[in-house]
């Protein structure tokens, strides 16, 4: 005998209409446009950073600043490449996995991206920033006392370390939460445990 609540549940939306193939094709095109727009904004931001440091690399009289700008441009290009490689895979067939396997895969991908943020997102910017700060300290030391130049460099380093450290900590913390969820999911999938 069917549970009455099953009857109550399945009586909802019994007249739901499926979209036609033409409507789906239109939605797919709109989806592609949205993706293009999102990617466009992301890469335009990277392009802006490259343009600014490209201008400095050409115009700056100091060779140290020029080299630091080129290294920063290289770091930005590396981060943009990493973002491209880590964008969600567009594989409609993957959706046909069983729900547990699919959800676990989703969590593993998110966890990997967050846990390795220092390597693929933060580290590429570091050499350029260190070079830029060192070059600025050296240039300042020619006009102000060395201690004052070192203090300025120290403040700049502390601000950057705070920003990078916060990004790293937030991502690591989120990665740990997801890792715990994966462990619980694995335990729940085992009939002997649950």
């Amino acid at each position: 005998m069917t549970d009455p609540i099953v009857n109550l549940w399945t009586a909802q939306q019994s007249d739901a209409r499926a979209p036609t193939v033409a409507e789906l094709a239109e939605r797919a095109a709109s989806f592609r446009r949205r993706l293009l727009m999102r990617d466009g904004i992301e890469y335009a931001a990277g392009g802006l950073v490259i343009a600014v440091f490209g201008h400095i690399a050409i115009d700056a009289p100091d060779w140290g600043v020029r080299i630091a700008s080129f290294v920063l441009i290289a770091g930005t290009c590396l981060v943009m490449r990493n973002l491209w490689r880590r964008r969600p895979a567009n594989d409609p067939a993957a959706l046909s996995q069983n729900a547990l396997g699919y959800y676990r895969g989703l969590l593993v991908a998110q966890q990997s991206t967050l846990a390795s943020v220092a390597r693929w997102y933060l580290a590429p910017f570091l050499p350029g920033m260190i070079l830029l700060i060192a070059t600025t300290v050296r240039a300042q030391a020619e006009t102000i006392p060395l201690a004052a130049a070192l203090l300025n460099g120290g403040i700049a380093t502390a601000v950057i370390a705070l920003i990078f450290g916060t990004v790293f900590w937030l991502n690591r913390s989120a990665a740990r939460t997801i890792a715990t969820e994966i462990e619980l999911l694995d335990a729940a999938g085992d009939p002997a445990i649950n």
């Binding site: 009857n7 109550l8 019994s14 739901a16 499926a18 979209p19 193939v21 547990l100 999911l185 009939p191």
Partner: protein, 176 residues
């Protein structure tokens, strides 16, 4: 040429077949995981789109209905993971703690029962959410296991808990 046309037409034909059979279940799934009516309609359309696009890879190794439900539940899970990032979700074992027990209206009013049931489903962890939704669609444990990726024994235990939960908190007469 005829073979190419046939290969191109197959996903459309399969989609038409799956959508005709499961459009109401897809609509119910979308409304169960997304409380906002407009976003639920959007999710419903996204599920149809995902199903249509996925069917190009359908090889008949599982039933078309199993494929359709897997795609639908996976898109719904992705939607919930994005929309409710950081929310505390509970397992079926903990579900008792989030259901109000002193609600006399809940035993007589069908709309009220469904609202509370939606609340319960929204608070469940993804795997338990899939199992209860598939149970409510009237599926057998073996079919639920195939879609959810759990053993039949595990699903049987979960279904037992679901039945007990529904019997104690969502009792209803015969629906109109």
């Amino acid at each position: 040429m005829a073979r190419i046309e046939s290969a191109e037409a197959a996903p459309d034909r399969l989609y038409a077949e799956a959508a005709a059979a499961h459009a109401p279940a897809i609509a119910r799934l979308a409304r169960a995981v997304e409380a906002d009516a407009d976003r639920a309609r959007d999710l419903e359309q996204d599920i149809h789109l995902g199903l249509w696009r996925s069917l190009g890879a359908y090889d008949g190794r599982c039933a078309l209905s199993t494929w359709a439900y897997r795609v639908a539940h996976n898109i719904a899970a992705t939607h919930v993971a994005r929309a409710r990032r950081g929310a505390r979700l509970v397992s079926l074992d903990e579900a008792e703690t989030i259901i109000a027990t002193d609600d006399p209206e809940a035993r007589i009013d069908h709309a009220h029962i469904l609202t509370r049931l939606h609340g319960l489903i929204a608070a469940l962890k993804p795997t338990d959410r899939s199992v209860i939704l598939l149970y409510l669609e009237g599926m057998e444990a073996s079919v639920i296991a195939d879609i959810a990726g759990l053993s039949t024994g595990n699903v049987a235990v979960k279904v037992h808990r679901i039945k007990a939960l529904l019997a104690s908190h969502f009792t209803t007469g015969t629906p109109a």
